[in-house]
Amino acid sequence: MSDVATPHSTAGMGQKFLSNRNMVLTAATLAVLVLMCGVFATLTDRFLTVSNFQNVMRNAAPVIIASCGMTTVMIARGLDLSVGSVLAASSVIAGSLAVAGVPLYLAFLLAVLFGAAVGAVNGVIIAGLAVSPIIVTLGMLNIARGAAYLISPSAILVGLPSGWSFLGTAKVLGLPMPIVIAGIVVAVFYVMTSYTTFGKRIYAIGGNEEAARLSGINIKRTLLWLYVMCGMTAALAGVVLSSRVGSGDPNIGVGFELQVIAAIIIGGTSLSGGEGRILGTVIGALIIGVLANGLNLAGVEPFWQFVAQGLVLIVAIIVDRLVQDGVLKMRKGA
């Protein structure tokens, strides 16, 4: 056959096209974030400062960390409502272990392993029995919250070792530790979803489970791993958060799952699976973080903040959609 394509030239082009599509989608979300920052910057000069940047990032770090795991679950068409409770349980587990004299790094590690174990239970039930992830993880939401209270009925503050706040407050090269940890997690998940075989399979399962099955992919095992990782990132978020607030607290993280899901969906992952981008999720988490922060800095009254937050969310998703459509149309036309 004469018309064999020359491998390299077209490969380059296509690669560009593919990453371009993702880039366009991510850029649309980024545009929303930038727009929002612009508005807040005009409203208050306290907004656009290095210290506030660190403040926002530090506050957004737990959401970012937990939503990395959840993004992959959602790309594979799953869902995990238990992340907020796992975060709380991880917090008190790390706290009680630390108080009991377990070395800090070990306490943190065990808390993260606890998250993995919870994820494994979720995964085994959901993937193994093919039941609704919503109900299973809603059940786990309750169980993990209960476990958190049973381990420590109220916040653990007394007896925590001095290093406890290291993960939450230390700085590395001028960057607050939570940001560094979030950055590492994001990098790992970015590489995983974009460049590994496992990553490709996640998209395949979410996009067309039957096709994935017919390709010999072990769906159950893959899903199991995803839930395990999701539990781990939730628990890691719990460790970082409790290190930051200086306590192990069973009350934290109520409603956290909604924040995480919102960040992910704003970031372009859909509930119906098969599509999603880690970087989009990060931007989504920042949009949510900037929103709360900006409204506070602009001095909006608390009750009006509810309204403003709601309006901005809706406007954000509409702008996101319009920018996407506009750019994709332009590119098609070109």
């Binding site: 306290r46 506030n52 922060n293 800095l297 608390p302």
Partner: protein, 352 residues
């Protein structure tokens, strides 16, 4: 030798209310909204453990706003001790800090049909019909903690305005002594949807502005009353107003979240300014006794006092010796930030 900040706080400490030196400065502060504030009757006899109790041998339901809260945890513990000592059957119901859960819980308590109920409302207004529902079902009910907005049942409550007002007075006294040169700029870590919390906030402001009418209130942010949300809100507060040097946290979680926020931006020091809250749970007492901590004024909200008063009031109600006009006011004793003051408070209210 210069005295430590704790010593300053102790020496300026007072159990008295302060009166406004400039009425205009406090004129705009709303009065108490969550219900009664006027009772000054000392709890006296309600706070003694009796020889015998009418509760002995009875089935008692006791509810808490949220069991995952150190204050209610302590309440539940005190009640369990009382149940053992006076030999009655105790069932604890958890409201999970949720209006819907509390509504359903009320019905479940009615189905459970106990001999007496010690009920902790979530909201002063919404609790009125809830209590009526239990009374209509023939139950003996007392309420404790947040007071229902109407007199429907015997109740144990605290003066949510005047209690925090003393904290405001004491913090102003400390601030004047510690930072005679500075103009106070106030931030509040708030939880605006709860009425009794608004009383706490307004009471604090009333007290502080009574002594320092020049103080400026920069902003109140919604910290949700839990440490993780309070921490983020306090961080924003500090970012929005770097000149803030006074913060009131509406409960201990709010001020603990603020402590973490101060640490994160390197402001955690007695030199930064002054922080106050109410509740007096164990972790906050560590801050109160810590010279470098900016937390320098605290009024207690004692679980033991509330438990015992509610216990005695319920017994009186069952025996027909109390009715809806019986009001017991406890709470908000200002805690002197000395080692003794802190220890004696904790020993009674939060026994280990």
């Amino acid at each position: 030798a210069a005295e430590t900040a704790v010593e300053t706080a102790a020496s300026t400490f007072s159990t008295d209310l302060c009166e406004p030196i400039d009425k205009a400065a406090v004129a705009d502060i709303p009065g108490a909204v969550s219900g009664f504030t006027g009772y000054a009757s000392a709890p006296g006899m309600w706070l003694t453990e009796p020889e015998a109790s009418a509760l002995t041998g009875k089935r008692i339901a006791m509810s808490v706003m949220s069991l995952g809260h150190p204050y209610f945890q302590a309440i539940a513990n005190h009640w369990e001790t009382l149940a053992e000592k006076y030999d009655f059957e105790l069932r604890v119901f958890d409201g999970r800090f949720d209006a819907g859960t509390v509504q359903r819980m009320v019905d479940d308590i009615i189905s459970y049909a106990p001999d007496g109920v010690a009920f902790a409302p979530l909201d002063s207004a919404a609790s009125v019909p809830q209590v009526k529902r239990m009374l209509d079902a023939g139950l003996k009910v007392v309420t404790y903690n947040v007071q229902p907005a109407e007199m429907v049942a015997p109740r144990v409550f605290a003066n949510d305005f005047d209690g925090p007002r003393i904290v405001g007075c004491n913090l102003a006294r400390y601030f004047q002594a510690k930072f005679p040169e500075r103009d106070p700029v106030i931030g509040i870590v708030d939880q605006p949807e709860l009425l009794q919390v608004q009383d706490r906030k307004n009471g604090f402001l009333y007290g502080f502005l009574s002594l320092m009418p020049e103080a400026r209130v920069a902003q109140a942010v919604n910290g949700g009353g839990v440490i993780d949300k309070a921490n983020a809100a306090a961080s924003d507060l500090l970012q929005a107003h770097p000149d803030i040097n006074v913060i009131f946290g509406i409960n201990n979680d709010s001020s603990l979240g603020t402590v973490a926020a101060l640490k994160a931006v390197g402001k955690y020091s007695d030199e930064w300014g002054a922080l106050a809250s109410v509740d007096g749970s164990e972790p906050i007492m560590g801050e109160l006794g810590n010279p470098v901590s900016p937390l320098k004024a605290e009024s207690g909200y004692g679980p033991y006092d509330f438990s015992l008063a509610a216990f005695n009031l319920l017994a009186a109600t069952i025996e027909g010796e109390a009715d809806e006009t019986t009001q017991v006011v406890v709470g908000y004793p200002p805690i002197i930030p000395t080692e003794d003051g802190i220890e004696s408070w904790l020993a009674q209210q939060y026994p280990r």
